[in-house]
Amino acid sequence: MIRVQPEIFDTGQEIKRLTADRTDIGAVVSFTGLVRDFNDGSDVTSLTLEHYPGMTERELEKIEKEANSRWDLQASLVVHRFGTMALGEPIVLVITASAHREQAFEAASFLMDWLKTKAPFWKQEENASGARDWVKERKSDIEAAKRWKG
């Protein structure tokens, strides 16, 4: 399942909803990305995420499908926000559930790495002086995504 929304989400509630009444799940991994006050050394006060409606959903669906083809998952969820968000707020959530922990860990890590380099979102940071800057692509994200090939 994937969701793209401006609204804040609650990681705990999403985990509960995804795993409710299931007795076949042994391992649940969640990843939550949060707005933090420093990015590459500059003092961030808020973050605005732009995205490409339509293509975003298609890309996230493709990435989730790929994760489910590579690992044996019993459930998976990707939620990504857009719009303006404050420090400490969640931006992105990935949940993977499997019978075995390695599967859940690897799939969650893969989902984040591919999402970071494929899903059409762009971050704009606002700093203390009111300046807004488009965040630059990170080499480490490109390297991380390469681990998974394909």
Binding site: G33, M55, I91, L115, T117, P120, F121, W122, V135, E137
Partner: protein, 83 residues
């Protein structure tokens, strides 16, 4: 064709979206980019380094030149930075 711009490309060009008709001059991605660059210095500048411009046709990434037709949706944007 519907042409979309995102992130700093949008900011730089001051355009979110526009409609361009296919023609003898504009018939594939390369010729579309060549035409866009003729429209003024800010267009020239935005498309000078195609290594930092990603292209999607009908919401799918393209990395090679592909033919375009009226009705297509073409998007130009920087490398993504979500997550």
């Amino acid at each position: 064709m519907r042409i979309l711009y995102f992130a700093w490309l949008k900011t730089k060009l001051g355009i979110t979206e526009e409609t361009v008709a296919c023609s003898a001059e504009i018939y594939d991605v390369d010729s579309l980019v060549a035409w866009i660059k003729t429209r003024g210095p800010q267009f020239q500048e935005a498309f000078i380094d195609m290594d930092v411009v990603r292209i999607a046709v009908n919401q799918e990434y393209v990395v090679t030149n592909v033919p375009l037709k009226n009705g297509d949706e073409v998007a130009f944007f920087p490398p993504v930075t979500g997550g």
